[in-house]
């Protein structure tokens, strides 16, 4: 009986498949669904587990998502076996809602029509008393095989790609026919490439030597990264066996993949160097103003970064569920707006807010301490270091000494992969962010009246004062602007680094280095030196495989560089000596 059933099924399937390839209109979809329901219905009532499994496996020839939905229902016990008392068992599903005795109306699994008893009434069953169709491990394995195939044909590209890549695991020859069939149907270029790759990887285990060699060549040609280890194994095996053509093919394939890897690494290094350079630029640009233009050694620069980061943290919580703080033992509670899209939109508010808060703190600091120290740069270094200690401690008192959690908006997470090179979104964003900050700074300094005053005061304070410029006010504004930029950097760093009271300490040495190498008093120099330091750091790291040694080499290179250009890349020319 089973044999007959399978033969009819198979013929039906092939005709269906042919139709399916030609078109997939609604009419055929119906036919398809009916066929699946019938198949599963027959499987549930098959006599032995083996028969059940064989029927399920016939679905492999026409994998559809509907089959997977039915499998899930079956596994979770939603298919019931209705016995009409005369020995005929019908698989049914429940429909509608429960009545007084917890019974449900039923529908036949095979076609979805109501299940009628001999007297023409709809059969009602109580799910607690009627048996449901059970599954054993063998059956579940068979279902898994079908589901895998369904995933291979998943309309969603990412799922499909993942399924294709996964099917290469284990190099099972029996998967080949399906994959090759899919290959003929596939239209998406990425999926075609993945299929080619997977087919070739599996063919490496083919019994036909010519096919093996061809597969190897193919893998070299498409420079498959995922095949690298497999090809290596094959090379070792073929060497042991003395299979000359295979050794050659595998060797060539490895060479080709190797060159691809080194290209990817170079591109990745360049990208990481660029983004690290941008991070350096973002953290150093504020210092380029306060130190470079004004000559104030602001050791508390890092703490202004922390102020910006904590502002972002507070804004984030303000948009979500509020925040409880207990600064100096006083418990405070900030109400939240409970916005549903708060997680995505808070950052747009946090950016200007962190600039403003950090700028305000900077203005307060300038008025209270820095203004007395313009003529004593070394002492401004010491005083601002003292301030940095105090600020760290205040942050600790308000927010606690542990790191706080700042979540990234959805549009900042994720990545692009272009030709196997990964571009992480927030790294791409930091590059753009750095460009925007530079443009803003340049505009402020060169196109606004404040910028004109800043430049005038920095070039010659006395002369500017004689011309009626209120130099004290310009100093305050400039310092505030520099600190605001540091706050902006903090808002950004909160997205990619830990936010804690001492976070600023990590950046202080790097920021000073960047400004010193760039040449004091020159924004362009800072840009070039940040990118240069970022690039060389990542390059050293890539080729030495050791971040610390790379960093030390960069520091050494900077010291040697300053031998060559003691005043940095761009020197502000002046006739004054001291």
């Amino acid at each position: 009986m089973l044999k007959d059933f399978i033969t009819t099924l198979t013929s039906q399937i092939f005709s269906l498949m042919l139709i399916g390839f030609v078109s997939s209109s609604a009419c055929f979809a119906e036919v398809k669904e009916k066929f699946i329901r019938e198949t599963i219905a027959s499987a549930t009532v098959a006599a032995t587990p083996d028969e059940q499994r064989e029927i399920i496996l016939t679905l492999k020839l026409k994998p559809t998502p509907e089959a997977v939905t039915w499998f899930e229902k079956w596994k979770s016990g939603e298919i019931f076996l209705h016995d009409d008392g005369a020995g005929v068992i019908t698989p049914v599903v429940l429909t509608g809602t429960a009545d007084g005795d917890d019974s449900f109306a039923t529908a036949k699994l095979s076609d979805g029509t109501p299940c009628l008893s001999a007297d023409g009434k709809v059969v009602r069953i109580n799910p607690k008393t009627v048996d449901f169709a059970e599954t054993d491990s063998g059956l579940r394995r068979a279902m898994k095989e079908v589901s895998d195939l369904v995933a291979l044909a998943d309309p969603d590209l990412t799922n499909r790609l993942r399924a294709i890549k996964e099917s290469a695991i284990g190099q099972k020859i029996e998967k080949l026919p399906v994959l090759q069939l899919l290959r003929t149907k596939e239209k998406n270029a990425a999926a075609i490439r993945a299929l080619d790759e997977t087919i070739a990887i599996i063919q490496l285990r083919s019994t036909d030597p010519a096919e093996r060699v061809a597969a190897c060549r193919k893998l070299g040609e498409i420079q498959s990264l995922s095949a690298y280890d497999t090809v290596k194994t094959i090379l070792a095996e073929s060497k042991a066996k003395g299979d000359k053509p295979m050794v050659d093919a595998a060797g060539e394939a490895l060479k080709s993949i190797d060159s691809h890897i080194s290209r990817i690494n170079a591109a990745g290094t360049a990208f990481r160097g660029l983004s690290l350079g941008s991070v350096l630029l973002v953290v150093a640009i504020g210092l380029a103003i306060t130190f470079g233009l004004m000559g104030v050694i602001n050791m508390a620069h890092g703490e202004f970064i922390a102020v910006g980061a904590y502002t972002t943290y507070v804004i984030q919580n303000f948009f979500a569920n509020g925040l409880k703080l207990s600064p100096f033992g006083v418990s405070m509670s900030l109400p939240g707006l409970h916005l549903t899209h708060g997680a995505d939109s808070y950052f747009i508010v946090a950016l200007p807010a962190s600039f403003l808060i950090a700028a305000l703190v900077g203005v307060a600091l300038e008025r209270s301490v820095i203004q007395f120290l313009y003529k004593r740069p070394l002492e401004s270094l010491l005083a601002t270091w003292g301030i940095s200690l105090v600020m760290q401690q205040i942050l600790k008192f308000i927010f606690g000494s542990n790191n706080v959690q700042v979540s990234s908006p959805a549009w900042l997470s994720g990545s692009w992969t272009i030709n196997d090179v990964q571009f992480v979104w927030n790294r791409v964003f930091v590059i753009g962010f750095a460009v925007v900050i530079i443009v803003i700074t340049w505009l402020v300094l060169n196109k606004t009246s404040l910028g004109l005053l800043i430049r005038a005061v920095m070039q010659n304070r006395n002369m500017a004062a004689c011309m009626g410029v209120r130099t004290e006010r310009v100093n305050t504004m400039t310092f505030g602007f520099g600190c605001g930029l540091a706050g902006l950097a903090g808002a950004f760093l909160s997205q990619m680094a830990n936010v804690g009271p001492s976070m600023g300490q990590l950046y202080i040495v790097d920021s000073f280095m960047t400004v010193v190498v760039g040449g004091v008093g020159n924004i362009m120099g800072t840009v070039i030196s940040a990118l240069g330091i970022g690039m060389s750091d990542q390059t050293f790291q890539q080729y030495l495989g050791n971040p610390v040694i790379g960093k030390i080499l960069v520091l050494g290179a900077i010291i040697l560089f300053l031998q060559w250009r003691p005043a940095g890349l761009f020197v502000t020319r002046s006739r004054s000596l001291d």
Partner: protein, 374 residues
């Protein structure tokens, strides 16, 4: 920058009296049981810090070079002593940081450290050479002022990164600890501790004497001239770079010896000692005590550290960084000459007040006299 040389206002008799107290009275009182072991140990540490502070003052107060890498030389000296102490632990077993990396025998560079004279030589050579090399590069290209500070800070930062690595075979994160004997004496023995204290006091007095002599000589004059106007000195035909280099090397070696004496007294040396904040903290002592004087830095180091021991335990522990940072800001703003300069400053303020009062009184007597310039 202050154009007048800041001369020490502490006179010789007071200095000698202090030396006798530190060198004789304190150990005797300890012997009699009046001063506890704990206090003696603390004072040993303070005196080490005092030596470190003098080395900074020699550079900053007298030559105008603010070095933020003094903790590096201090730690290097400590590591040299640490290597000797590690070698003198004895026994067949390798320390964990070596056995963990598969060493069954000491790496070759450790071997000569079993001799104390060699270790002492290294305390001079290693920091001295580093200072010589770095100073040569820095002063040759006339890196000065803030740039020098930032570069020395970067140097220290780089060295700390290096010492934190286990591959360096210098104990990595944990550094050297569990020392047993020094020159055959048990380090846990109270007599050894007292001797170490006396050695520290002796070194301090020696360094004070050396610096007094050096700064009082012709050399010290040029040193201060460089501080006040390097270009004028340069144009007068002096090779300022060589003078600066010499001071830099001397102060590195002094700091190194301070570190070497520090290690057996605290019983541990690790890379956190060369953290950038440690150098800055030492600079605070100098500023607080009074830079440009010999005794000021020692006073600053002892008072800040005594205050720290007192404040960083118990309820005030959380506030310690604020006290330190806040007092620093206040000192920079209001006490540019530090504790040592305070009496003169108060005198000055009093004199001004008096003068003002007199001036106010004078017009009352004769309305016609013109107001004098304040």
């Amino acid at each position: 920058m202050n154009k007048q040389p800041i001369t020490s206002r502490v006179h010789l008799p007071i200095l000698i009296a202090t030396a006798i107290i530190l060198l004789v009275v304190v150990p005797v009182l300890h012997r009699c049981g009046i001063i506890s072991d704990f206090t003696l140990g603390n004072w040993g540490k303070y005196l080490c810090y005092g030596i470190l502070a003098i080395s900074i003052d020699l550079l900053w107060g007298y030559t105008g070079l603010l070095c933020l890498g003094q903790a590096l030389f201090f730690t290097l000296g400590g590591y040299m002593m640490g290597m000797y102490l590690m070698r003198s632990i004895g026994g067949k077993a390798m320390p964990t940081f070596l056995s963990m990396r598969g060493f069954t025998e000491w790496p070759s560079f450790f071997l000569p450290f079993s001799s104390f004279p060699f270790a002492m030589l290294m305390m001079v050579v290693v920091p001295g050479l580093l200072a010589l090399g770095f100073g040569f590069l820095a002063f040759r290209s006339r890196i000065k002022g803030v740039y020098f500070s930032i570069l020395t800070q970067a140097l220290t930062y780089g060295a700390a990164l290096l010492f934190f690595r286990n591959e360096m075979l210098m104990g990595g994160n944990n550094g050297f600890t569990d020392f047993r004997t020094l020159l055959g004496f048990d380090l846990r023995d109270i007599g050894t501790k007292r001797s170490l204290y006396i050695a520290t006091a002796l070194l301090l007095i020696g360094v004070v004497a050396l610096c007094k002599w050096l700064t009082g000589s012709r050399f010290g004059l040029i040193q201060r001239a460089i501080r006040d106007s390097e270009n004028r000195v340069l144009f007068s035909g002096y090779a300022t770079a060589n003078y600066k280099l010499f001071v830099f090397v001397i102060s590195a070696v002094i700091a190194s010896f301070a570190g070497a004496l520090f290690v057996p007294q605290v019983g541990i040396i690790n890379p956190s000692e060369m953290d950038t904040s440690k150098s800055l903290e030492a600079v605070v002592w100098v500023a607080l005590g009074g830079r440009g004087t010999i005794i000021g830095p020692v006073l600053g180091a002892i008072s800040v550290n005594a205050l720290k021991s007192w404040a960083s335990s118990g309820a005030t522990a959380d506030f310690w960084p604020m006290i330190l940072g806040g007092s620093f800001v206040l000192v920079v703003l209001f006490m540019p000459k530090g504790i040592v300069g305070l009496p003169a400053q108060i005198q000055g303020v009093l004199a001004r007040l008096k003068k003002k009062k007199e001036e106010e009184e004078i017009p009352a007597i004769s309305e016609k006299s013109p107001a004098t310039d304040p």
